[in-house]
Amino acid sequence: MSKITVRQAIQKGLTEALDADPNVFIMGEDIGDYGGAYAITSGFLEKYGPERIKDTPISEAAFIGAGIGSAAAGLKPIIELMSISFSLVAFDQIVNMAANIRYMSGGQINVPMVIRAPTGAGMQLGATHSQSFETWLCEVPGLKVVAPSNPFDALGLIRSSIKDSNPVIYAESAGLYGLKGDVDDKYYEVEIGKADIRTVGDDITLVSYGHGMPMLEKVAEELGSRGVSSEVIDLRSLSPMDYETVNKSVQKTGRALLLDTSRKTGGVMAELAASVQESSGDYLDGPLLRVGSEDVPWPYNRKLEQHAMSSVPKILKQIEIGYSL
């Protein structure tokens, strides 16, 4: 076991891949000389050279499109977006090319590519830099979407994402880069599509991903002090989503709260809620609960931004209203 940060876990996964496979290269804005907007690729240029650590112009559509073509030609591009909000200017390439090209070619073309992108609000970056578009990308067949919440999963998922033969969106919670945690020294991967039961419990199922997880840990702690036992689940993978693990848990506990850190409308928990209702509706002892951020453009002002975000008090309040716990 080693204690490292989420940032170090991602760095470890990337350097392993660069060391192991000459076809792996990294491309993005300011990843070379600058070292990455969030310092993930700091020192990479010196170690691997400009052919494998490619600084790009500010042309997201062009370099993501080029990534797709290079992947289709047998390379393994890992692309860094400075923010998942910037995926918008490359959305056509991500959706119509990366995701659709395999299907519309009758399975002839694979796109083994990873797009890493920081996501989420909470740093007073305003409406254009705080969004969580991993939710939109989950709607697109052909893409996989993962979102780790801790160093162990960050390392396990970057390994499996790089190994995958499909385009994988690796959504990094921008507020969690400095979070420390244990990782195994022995090589492991985290399977894409498998949720993790973080805490086993009997009375209520709590589900989230990414930076929702630290909130759920606090909620579980508070509920514990009231004698309520929580089963805490980290989805880890948003597409494909592990409906089975969540439904099994809800069928055991009879209660569930699903937490989105994105805006509530159209968040991934809306889809999960529908699945829980369909598959486990008869087991529920009360309403299925869902908390998400306010349906507003993200405000800059700290007080307003915090007010818009999902929070521990909001979650506890919902649980009190829904289940009187």
Binding site: P57, S59, G67, D92, R102, M104, I109, G142
Partner: protein, 318 residues
Amino acid sequence: MEKKEYLDLYKKMYLIRRFEESCGENYSKGFIRGFLHLYIGEEAIAAGSISTLREDDYIVTHYRDHGHAIARGLETGPLMAELFGKKTGVSGGKGGSMHLFDASKNFMGGHAIVGAQIPLAAGFALASQYKKKDSITVVYFGDGATNQGTFHETMNLASIWKLPILFFLENNFYGMGTSVEKIRTNGKSFGNLAENYGMPSTVVDGMDVLAVKETTEEAIKKIRAGSGPVFIEATTFRYQGHSMADPAKYRTNEELDEWKEKDPLVNFHKHLIDQGLATESDIEKVSKSADNELDEAVKFATESPEPDLDDIKNDIYA
């Protein structure tokens, strides 16, 4: 050039035209649905330029893609079957007219969002460069695509990275129904777009198959030598509307007739005879062979099975 090469060029152009005419007929009969964009009038571009490529070179094109596919040597049977939506189609019946693929021939589509294929193509070129191979990529696009951000972004990217890519503009003077005059302040020619990115460019008569071939050969020689991207603009005209749904009311018959005077097939036929490069009987022979091939292609498409319902979820993930 040997006689056979001339006749091959003629046959490609002839086959493309007959294929497109057959598509039109089969669309009217309801065997082909969706959007169908015909390449009639533009045959010299695909036939001339693609004849200069090596097997390991990549081709990426737009939705008016039948001509490029045939020029690349994709078989007309599976091509027609794709248009008929059949399981035996080049894309398994899942792509249709606008999304033709054959990865085994490095024919990487058939792309239907205007300009979106341009960054993708840069990726194939990047892979050649990365692997230190001297294969190149040709990307085709129309005049309409030159106002997309992806075009400009990729011209810049290819230029700064010296990617081995040929930007091939098929200027048919109309982006769907909008004339070039309406979308450009800078005259009809597009060469200055390349200048802005420090890229050599040439304008070629896209109705003259030999001129297209020669111009492409020169460009590819430079690219293969590692000097970076080149831009070719070929002027041409599509005889039909933008798609089968378009009666082309935005242009005059006189304009169309003027272009038909320069018809690539008619004029190349005349050139072959006048220059003693082939005889009428040679030309009749290759034409007949193309006619037969096309009859077989339509038969193959007609008789092929549709995809199984189970196929709906195949090919999404590797």
